[in-house]
């Protein structure tokens, strides 16, 4: 091989190297762009309609402009709250099991199932809630929506709780056990308090995710244009409102949908940033 051809090959290799690196950097830019585009557009369309009326007024009848989404905000809060009351304890305690006793095939199976559960489409969870709650009750209800949201929260909370507990320094457990404290009391009184910060943010993350769900509410809670805080009745929610209002042929309604989308996206981003901040400082453990 002559020197010349070698130099040619080298130049080609260097070019290819630069080209592929360029593509990789470009793809990073292309992927991040939608985040700013979507957030920016939601901000610009939604901010104009986010005002006090939006939070404290009821939807106006068709044809009138103005009004707000007070009932939807309350409905979302209630369903996410009740869903949390059902789903979070299950998730957290299962997570405690996985962290404390989960080093066996059953633990692996639970972990696997919880991961699989998190991959199930939310609309399917809605159908399940319909079959187990709406059909026996014979009507749509806020409670059915809560059940669907509860099921959706479980996998996230289970896995976060496990991870957060496993990150608690082992010396703490040893110190407690060496003092003669029983194992269960060590977990509850020593380990869990240290992991609380991490678990709390994990819980917030699951709640934020549930608050953004639409599909499982469509035919469980259904939606409601009127004020209703009864779990036994169809209940309004922010997300279903966005869905209905975005399809409506009235600009005013569209704008309100954007306002609701903006509120939702802000909540979700804030919780995610909070989660990031807490977990970055050694996953909630350390300088506390």
């Amino acid at each position: 091989m002559t020197k010349g051809s070698n130099a040619g090959v080298d130049r080609w290799r260097k070019f290819k190297n630069a080209f592929m690196i360029g593509l990789s950097v470009l793809s990073a830019l292309v992927v991040i762009a939608p985040l700013f585009v979507i957030f920016g557009y939601t901000l610009s369309r939604g901010i104009g309609s986010v005002n006090l009326d939006f939070f404290i007024h009821m939807p106006k009848p068709v044809g009138e402009t103005g009004g707000g989404m007070a009932n939807a905000i309350v409905g979302s809060l209630m369903m996410v709250g009740i869903g949390g009351l059902i789903g979070l304890p299950i998730g957290i305690i299962a997570g405690v099991y996985l962290a404390e006793f989960g080093k066996n095939p059953f633990g692996a199976a639970v972990r696997f199932m919880s991961d699989v559960l998190s991959g199930i489409p939310s609309i399917v969870v809605g159908i399940v809630a319909y079959v187990i709650v709406v059909i026996p009750m014979k009507h749509f209800s806020g409670f059915a929506g809560s059940v669907a949201l509860a099921i959706l929260m479980i996998p996230t909370v289970t896995r976060t709780t496990e991870e957060m507990i496993l990150l608690v320094p082992h010396s703490l457990r040893e110190a407690s056990l060496a003092l003669g404290v029983p194992s269960w009391k060590t977990t509850i009184r020593v380990i869990l308090p240290v992991a609380t910060k991490g678990i709390t943010t994990g819980v917030l993350l699951a709640i934020a995710r549930a608050a953004g769900e639409t599909a499982p509410l469509l035919f469980t809670a259904l939606g409601n244009r009127f004020w209703s805080t009864s779990l036994n009745q169809p209940m309004a929610s922010l997300t279903v409102f966005i869905y209905d209002y975005s399809k409506a042929p009235f600009t005013d309604w569209n704008n309100q949908a954007w306002a609701a989308a903006f509120v939702l996206i802000c909540i979700v981003f804030l919780v995610n940033i909070l989660f990031r901040l807490v977990t970055r400082s050694r996953y909630g453990i350390g300088n506390t």
Partner: protein, 340 residues
């Protein structure tokens, strides 16, 4: 107390193994038991069984869901059998149901999404795992994760008001003009189309494919890179070696992304056009399984109608479970192989 904390190698390997990588393995504990392998304390026993019960609840949820859905779709399964999958009549009045157009729309829009998302995701994963300095990697990964946090209804409303007009006025005419000789890239000029659904789905599944691919690539031992670099390989040639090791993991990530795309409801419903027909043209409107459930579930007047819709959900459920299970096993075995 900080000295006992495991040093984090990378966030990826930690998440993959649920925090159980070797570095965070605790030192041997001999205090919990009295040498006979039995819990010493009644409280321990109660506590363990209580937590075990809740873990069993989580374990059994998937089976419970499967059972309830099977029960709910009994009527339609008994009446149509496998015919449900490959007939395209959907006639609530006559009580005849076949889900083919929905299955078709779901598969096509998801494949479009994969075709767009996979190259981009791998590109970003390479950027994150191989190229970027630490100070840049963290914020970029975070931004990609934020993309996953946007609620799907927000993607939907954005898709309907922004993406669909773009497809109508720019992407569609462009494709028809330059690639129109391929039937795939032609179709109706509405904007609401399987292509629009594919694009919005691509944005939605980018984060999951990216983050798992990055984790798998980060799990590949540095010795591989060092060996390649020592032989005079360029950065890209080194990356190719990493990629060839990571490819099954990336395949797993792709399956997870596909599972997410198949079941996505709100965003797709708002942009796909919701017209039940089978068309080869990507610019034509279509329908998806999740969309038909979302649109028609509350209107299902007869038991058979409802049962058919539940069966569509059951199909979706079965497919996503299988995809998820395969993908998890692949990703898990790849990261485990390189962790040991």
């Amino acid at each position: 107390m900080q000295t006992y904390l495991p040093r984090k190698t990378s966030e990826g390997s930690r998440q993959q193994t649920g925090g159980r990588d070797q570095l965070s393995e605790p030192p041997v504990v001999v205090f919990t038991q009295n040498g006979k392998g039995k819990a010493r304390n009644v409280g321990d026993l109660v506590f363990k069984n209580l937590t075990l019960f809740f873990a069993a609840v989580v374990f059994s949820l998937v089976f419970l869901m499967a059972y309830e859905m099977y029960k709910g779709s009994n009527l339609s399964i008994a009446k149509f059998g496998w015919k449900f999958l490959w007939t395209s009549v959907w006639d609530p009045v006559r009580g005849d149901f076949g889900a083919l157009p929905y299955v078709y729309g779901t598969i096509v829009s998801s494949l479009v999404a994969l075709a767009i998302a996979l190259p981009l995701s791998v590109g970003v994963a390479i950027f994150l795992a191989e190229l970027s300095p630490d100070w840049l990697e963290k914020p970029v990964s975070f931004l990609v994760e934020l993309l996953a946090a946007i609620p799907s209804i927000v993607y939907g409303i954005w898709g309907m008001f922004v993406l669909v007009p773009i497809v109508r006025s720019s992407i569609g005419p462009f494709l028809t003009k330059y690639l129109g000789f391929i039937p795939l890239f032609t179709g109706a000029p509405y904007g609401f189309s399987m292509l629009a659904a594919g694009i919005i789905l691509a944005i939605m599944i980018l984060p999951i494919i990216t983050s798992i691919s990055r984790d798998v690539m980060a799990a590949i031992p540095n010795a591989q890179r060092e060996a390649a670099l020592a032989l005079g390989a360029t950065k890209w040639e080194t990356t190719k070696i990493v990629l060839s090791n990571a490819k099954s993991g990336i395949a797993g990530a792709t399956l997870l992304g596909l599972g997410r795309a198949l079941g996505e409801t709100m965003a797709v419903t708002l942009v796909i056009g919701n017209i039940s027909r089978i068309s080869i043209h990507l610019l034509d409107p279509g329908y998806s399984m999740a969309s038909v459930i979302a649109n028609e579930f509350t209107e299902a007047t007869s038991d058979l109608y409802l049962s058919s819709l539940i069966e569509v959900g059951l199909l979706l459920f079965g497919v996503t479970i299988i995809l998820n299970a395969i993908a998890r096993v692949i990703v898990w075995s790849v990261t485990k192989r390189f962790a040991s």
